[in-house]
Symmetry: D2
């Protein structure tokens, strides 16, 4: 029998998860929960699921797992509501914009030993997974430094900027998770600089659009994260790991393999446009992983603790930037 | 309502078409016909289709189109059986190994105005389609020469070699179709050379493993095709078009975007392994096109005439090689 | 008549300058001064120059310019000795390891209006010069961030490490100069992290082998510098400028254009091995520029002030690292 | 003492050889012979040589070697005049446009055991030399096919076209030499096609501007040569060797390492513009080799026989094109 899954949130990312659950022969989407009835109905129609209220969905004892893809400010409430039911949870990052609240959520999930997968999709990307495997297998030798470039193709709407928690929490958080994963240990020092050099209106809204973050681990490994809210050539997602034996890089995925050579030089396409074009395989594998976790066949690869750690680092990065000093990172003890 | 489609042939390529029909919301696979009951049953189970005999499948008046993915030597009989029914046909290349027989099939289909799509999957590849668009839009100027490299990763079994019609008909035929498409006119002269320098056992079986074909069109455009039965770095599928204004190339799709740099140099992955890894999107778009043809929304992009022309060129190429002279190509008048 | 030039220092870099002066039809090397008579004699033999003491060389009223390529700790004394003579000076970086002493030298040269070229060879590299031109011409739009990777192929001897002034002053100084040049304004904030993760013996000698520096300018532009004392694939010298309209990168120069594809993937050569292989053209153009400056045809492109500024930034970077805080950079007022 | 060399021909290629002889500490240019006194004087001034008549230059018993860089139609007379003197000869390709005349020259040089270097500069290019070494060392396994692309950036003047012997003799000859070298044996079959699709005025002058040549060796190795009189992106000089174990390619040398990414995609520079920009190192090493041959330290790497063989192949290629058949190549027996 296929596993019945409930989806909370039928927005852009919710629809993506819905399609991937539907395509996984082991699972079926049973409920779609969303305050916007049309969005929910559309997802339901495409996947054979039913539109339901949260109460209805959670009342069904057959539901085997819940995917939380709602607005960020609902995450914590949902986790605290669902965790006591013992249901496996997939939750988009961030857990919450408040470290205190996120810590409480994580504690709740950990105390109850809920199988919990945090939506750090990039770890499931085949190229980044190979990069991680190269480290683990010793091909690169000792990791000495990691360099992450992460630039969105264009800035989000100002409304989003005002409520997202800012660049460090809504954008760099992905990179900080990759940094932890590739460094192989938790950074204990962080410095940062940032500005709104690209979009003054983002500065006026209280956020930054360009940032550099600098991490250091107890073993002396260093990491740089370069963020920008725009990139004229597409979604820029590159990582380089400098090791004692070798240095490895994952470059951008080009839109095409075409090269046009003329008097203007050799022209190739830009990078895949944004996360849905760049990471379809990562999202697919991420949701397959969650289904495997629900089935008890795998343990979470991106845990609720990972979700919390990245948020703690994002907070520390912003503090370092605001206070103009290197911050010694304190992690919650759980 | 979804279009009911019948599939004849549940082998490697048949399974691929079955999955793509299944994924197309506009169509449904209704019948799978194959002399091997297990293969048919497997495809049927994965797609909700029924296993049937050819007679049963064709007796169903609801069937809206037929996909022929059987062994090559059954193609012609099937076309002659199905064409009189007026059903739209998708047929894998080659139509037949005999130009005479293929001509008769093509005539039958054309006379009855059957919507007929020949399975030249490469024309549906997004990169090659963009290359063709660059020509059509004038970006490259006048096409002066086309250069096609097409190498399989490893040789087929000797049993296949003995019955396939030989490298010119089973392998180069794809490239000869691409040549016609990109040159924009039918070549009227062809020269060729070939040998079994790589695999003497292929030579002993009467075939060649390495070939070069040289085409010339009435307008003086030239084309080279380079074939090999092996390539240690994967499936090598490159095309270059040299135009009066610009030169464009489609390179291989790498397996990964990873670069590992060390004392041994900078190492990247090889090319995608073979046609299913290299052309999944092309196969998907090809079958979507066939469904659109069945729906009457599109006219065939790769016609039965295209299927015949490529075979006529393959015959002429082999003749040029055997007779050591430039052949003036004669095409059937239809 | 050709310009007579005196060279002080016949070591590795001195020999390079000697060959470039010799190849410039407008100039001739007249004197070579070096405490090691054999080194001086070798350079003299290859260029038709005479071995001389400093006094002898400076006593010749025909000498039109002096190239200082001695050990770093002699730079300041030499500048203070030569500046009063009014002779044009080319001096390798750094001016001195002490900012105070370097400031005094710079003041001496500026007060006397000595034509003074500091040896920041990278600014003369044709690719970096084109990158700078792209900025100047507006092709990139507003510069938002600059990213510099600079890694030596292998670490220097420990003896050098102990006296070089450390990674920030002997290595990052080049990158800090490039940063100023490409950012188009002087950074006013600097943060840094570093460690001896690669070579514990370098840590034991009081230096670091891996560093990250983070700069911010008054306009909010950001810059990262990534340094390492080793790179298994050659001398790694890359720069990326992220602009509002476009992003430009200068990559490494490969040793060869050869690609070898096999079961192990696609293998290309590593980067040019070290500065003499990577920057021969830059050194040639740098010395041609100095000759043009001596001739009065050009004004210095890399001034004594540039030499001082880069040193001040190197000092501030080390301070930021040691004190774990963002430093507001103070520049000498000259 | 430095070797005195005489240069015949002070045109474009003569000046290049003059500069390389001058830069070689082992040799000195003593005489420049050219019917145009100004051209000769210019070369003489730059190198310290004397302008002389051919008689004067050859009357000097100290002259140790002669470089022939005159117009092609003077080559044979010069060789026949100089060979009896026993002097080492460097001669630009082709020996002569007539195979009969070239054979006579080659016989004269071989009979007298003259150290004779033919100016096939590409064999001295470091990248192509490494490619050849990979074959020799077995890295590629057995060579199965060779693919040469050779396109000039722009067509020559029509006056040149009318007297050059045509594309096969003035352009393809270089590629045919590379083919022989990389195939490791002399082709015994050749086919070709050509047209004046790019420049009708070249067709009107009796020549072609686009050609494809197809070679086959006794061992069954194949080779394609693709020529064009123009390439909008620079001088296109690529070679690929497909071996049983690996496939190796030498790509074009880009003008810069700069990448500019924007909405228009990722733009890199085109290829080096023409032979002087692409092959300076090859020309330098070629002339160093000739000096080593004169010194008796090396034996010619590109012999007079090589010069003749390439011409015989060029003749056969044109014949194959004109007669529309595969030609069995006959080589002179020497």
């Amino acid at each position: 029998m296929t596993l019945p899954i409930a989806l909370i949130g039928a927005g852009r990312i919710g629809r993506l998860h819905a399609a991937n659950i539907h395509a996984d022969a082991r699972a079926a989407l049973r409920y779609v929960v969303d305050p916007a009835p049309e969005a929910a109905a559309e997802v339901a129609a495409a996947t054979g699921a039913r539109v339901a209220s949260l109460d209805e969905a959670l009342a069904d004892r057959d539901v085997a797992g819940v995917v939380i893809a709602s607005a960020t400010d609902a995450h914590a409430d949902l986790i605290e509501r669902i965790a006591p039911l013992g249901l496996p949870i997939f939750c988009e990052k961030p857990l919450d914009l408040s470290v205190a609240r996120a810590t409480a959520c994580a504690e709740a999930a950990i105390r109850r030993e809920i199988p919990f997968v945090t939506g750090f999709n990039r770890r499931y990307d085949p190229d980044f997974a190979r990069l991680h495997a190269l480290i683990r297998e010793g091909t690169l030798g000792n990791v000495e430094s990691v360099h992450i470039v992460s630039r969105d193709p264009f800035p989000p709407p100002l409304d989003y900027v005002r409520t997202s928690g800012g660049l460090f929490r809504d954008m760099a958080i992905h990179d900080l998770d990759m940094a932890r994963w590739l460094l192989g240990e938790d950074p204990d020092e962080i410095a940062a600089s940032a500005s709104s050099v690209a979009f003054p209106e983002i500065g006026a809204a209280g956020d930054v659009d360009t940032a550099l973050i600098l991490l250091r681990t107890p073993a002396g490994r260093l990491c740089s994260v370069s963020n920008s809210r725009h990139a004229s050539y597409g979604y820029d997602q590159r990582i380089e790991v400098h090791g004692s034996l070798r240095t490895a890089r994952v470059g951008n995925l080009p839109q095409t393999q075409l090269l046009v050579a003329g008097a203007e030089g050799r022209v190739r396409s830009g990078a895949k446009q944004f996360f849905r074009e760049r990471y379809p395989e990562a999202y697919r594998l991420e949701m397959r992983h969650f289904v495997s976790v629900v089935l008890g066949e795998e343990t979470p690869r991106t845990t609720v603790r990972d979700g919390l750690r990245a948020l703690e680092l994002a907070d520390a990065a912003e503090q370092a930037f605001r206070e103009k000093r290197t911050i010694s990172v304190r992690y919650a003890d759980l």
